[in-house]
């Protein structure tokens, strides 16, 4: 843990999510059309938290689900087969606004896979993209609509997002994976 830098404390994470929730609310006047889709695993937990925050703003239930992207990845034969999760989208996405949620945005390849995966379930009116951390290094023309924090990183670093639901704490840390 000594070579890890804290990027976000629990309090900073909560503030960033609250701000993202308000930005989503501001962008979407038709609040009942919004459906959140989290990318496993971190994005699923974030989507649930954002749904809770949005319910506080909109005063009605906000659906949040899971979107598996592993079957749509473009690097399947270059690495060991990834863990697949079951996609569970609460309700029909046709004509709705889908807010895609992920914890860390880097190359944009996961987001590209997610865009393809969503279209297997219907044709949304629009798709918006929310991320907690944007660490740069984009390899595709993909830009998030809502960002918790922009973090310039080196490729030899890893962004580790921890959630109280899974790890007993809320925190974002930057870890070095290779010596400088």
């Amino acid at each position: 843990m000594s070579d890890a830098t804290v990027l976000m404390t629990a309090q900073m994470m909560h503030r960033a999510l609250a701000r993202i929730a308000h930005e989503i609310a501001e962008r979407n006047e038709e609040s009942r059309q919004v459906i959140l889709a989290g990318v496993p695993r971190g994005g699923v937990l974030l989507a649930r938290r954002l749904a809770k925050l949005l319910e506080g703003i909109w005063h009605h239930p906000v659906p949040a689900g899971t979107l598996d992207v592993s079957m749509h990845r473009d690097d399947l034969d270059q690495q060991i087969a990834p863990m697949v999760h079951q996609t569970e989208l609460p309700g029909d996405i046709n004509g709705r606004t889908v807010v895609l949620v992920d914890d860390v945005l880097c190359s944009g390849r996961t987001a590209r896979a997610a865009l393809d995966a969503i279209h297997d379930f219907g044709r949304p009116r629009r798709i918006q993209f929310a991320v907690l951390i944007d660490r740069g290094h984009r390899e595709l023309p993909i830009k998030p609509d809502f960002v918790g924090k922009n973090v310039p990183t080196s490729r030899h670093e890893r962004v580790d997002v921890r959630f109280s639901e899974e790890h007993g704490e809320d925190a974002v840390r930057l870890k070095r994976t290779q010596p400088l």
């Binding site: 034969d77 690495q79 863990m83 379930f121």
Partner: protein, 313 residues
């Protein structure tokens, strides 16, 4: 998550964690089959060859559809219409298929070890779809998947396999998978088809069908493999049915939550009473559906390369 294999040759060499990985992966693929769009691009651009040297309809169709649902291109190669009839060796046939840039070869062969043989010189992945009386790994995986889906677990369950064990690759693969996952396995059938030697694998062997099914959570019925028997192993079909067939009377004495399974094809009125085969405890058709999901999972997993385990952010 634990899978680092290029081939699926048998259950014997898999760890319990690897079996569980296939079953967990299959659950997600089963959901794909329930969507309006039942296709994902996981194997886009890959070529899958069904090399079926021994006749098969259901397993070949299941593998073919599994590959198609993963967006692979599929070639079916059957013994009847093949160059093997013209004297080509299996090795040459396989190398010719590889020269067509096949990425995954699914083989069924009457000879034990044929998939292992291919895996030693082919660059692509090899999946065993049944080799002689040795193993039929995807059948065992789909059977354990079905058991787990209904019972929530496999560990601690009493599973009875009833019928022709000696000539059954389904039995051998199932025994391996069930024991690895912690089930208690009972084998039952005519003594000529259920030799005591299976006790060495850790199974209970009995020739008393009532004892075998009384406390069973799962009864897996196997067809008599007439085509594999070199001599008559029991006096008559009628005698087999009366001594070992799952009649309505015997079914009435099983546990109320028993699961009745059969890998197919069913011989109604021989190993199973027709009404029992269609009753609400029978999951025979679910096994077919689950077979597709399990084969999609296996194709997906063996397609994984040898790169880093970590998925990029």
């Amino acid at each position: 998550m634990s899978w680092n294999r290029k081939h699926l040759l048998d259950i014997e060499s898999l760890s319990p964690a690897e079996i569980v990985t296939v079953l967990d992966t299959a659950r997600a693929f089963k959901a794909v089959g329930e969507r309006a769009i039942k296709k994902v691009p996981a194997l886009r651009g890959k070529t899958v060859v069904n090399l079926f040297i021994e006749p098969s309809t259901r397993t070949r169709i299941s593998f073919e559809l599994a590959a198609l649902r993963l967006t692979a291109d599929v070639i079916n190669f059957t013994a009847e219409a093949s160059s093997l009839k013209k004297g080509e060796s299996l090795k040459d046939t396989a190398r010719n298929l590889e020269a067509l840039n096949a990425d995954i070869i699914i083989i069924r062969h009457s000879a034990t070890g044929a998939p292992h043989f291919l895996s030693r010189f082919l660059r692509g992945s090899v999946i065993n779809a049944g080799d002689g009386a040795h193993e039929h790994p995807t059948q065992a995986l789909l059977d354990t998947f079905t058991i787990r889906e209904h019972k929530g677990k496999v560990e601690g369950l009493n599973v009875t396999i009833l019928g022709d064990i000696l000539y059954s690759r389904v039995a051998r693969s199932n025994i391996q998978a069930l024991l690895k996952l912690g089930a208690r396995v009972t084998l039952c059938g005519p003594s000529t088809l259920v030799p005591r030697v299976f006790e060495e694998m850790g199974c209970r062997v009995t020739y008393d069908v009532d004892a075998a099914i009384a406390d069973a959570d799962v009864i897996n019925l196997l067809r008599i493999q007439h085509e594999r028997q070199r001599k008559t192993m029991f006096p008559s079909i009628g005698e087999y049915t009366s001594l070992f067939g799952l009649s309505k009377a015997r079914f009435a004495r099983t546990r109320p939550d028993v699961l009745i399974m059969h890998p197919g094809p069913i011989n109604r009125g021989v190993e199973i009473n027709s009404e029992v085969a269609d009753c609400d405890r029978s999951v025979v058709l679910e096994q077919v559906t689950n077979g597709l999901a399990v084969r999609m999972a296996v194709l997906f997993l063996v397609n994984g390369g040898k790169g880093p385990q970590e998925i990029a952010q």
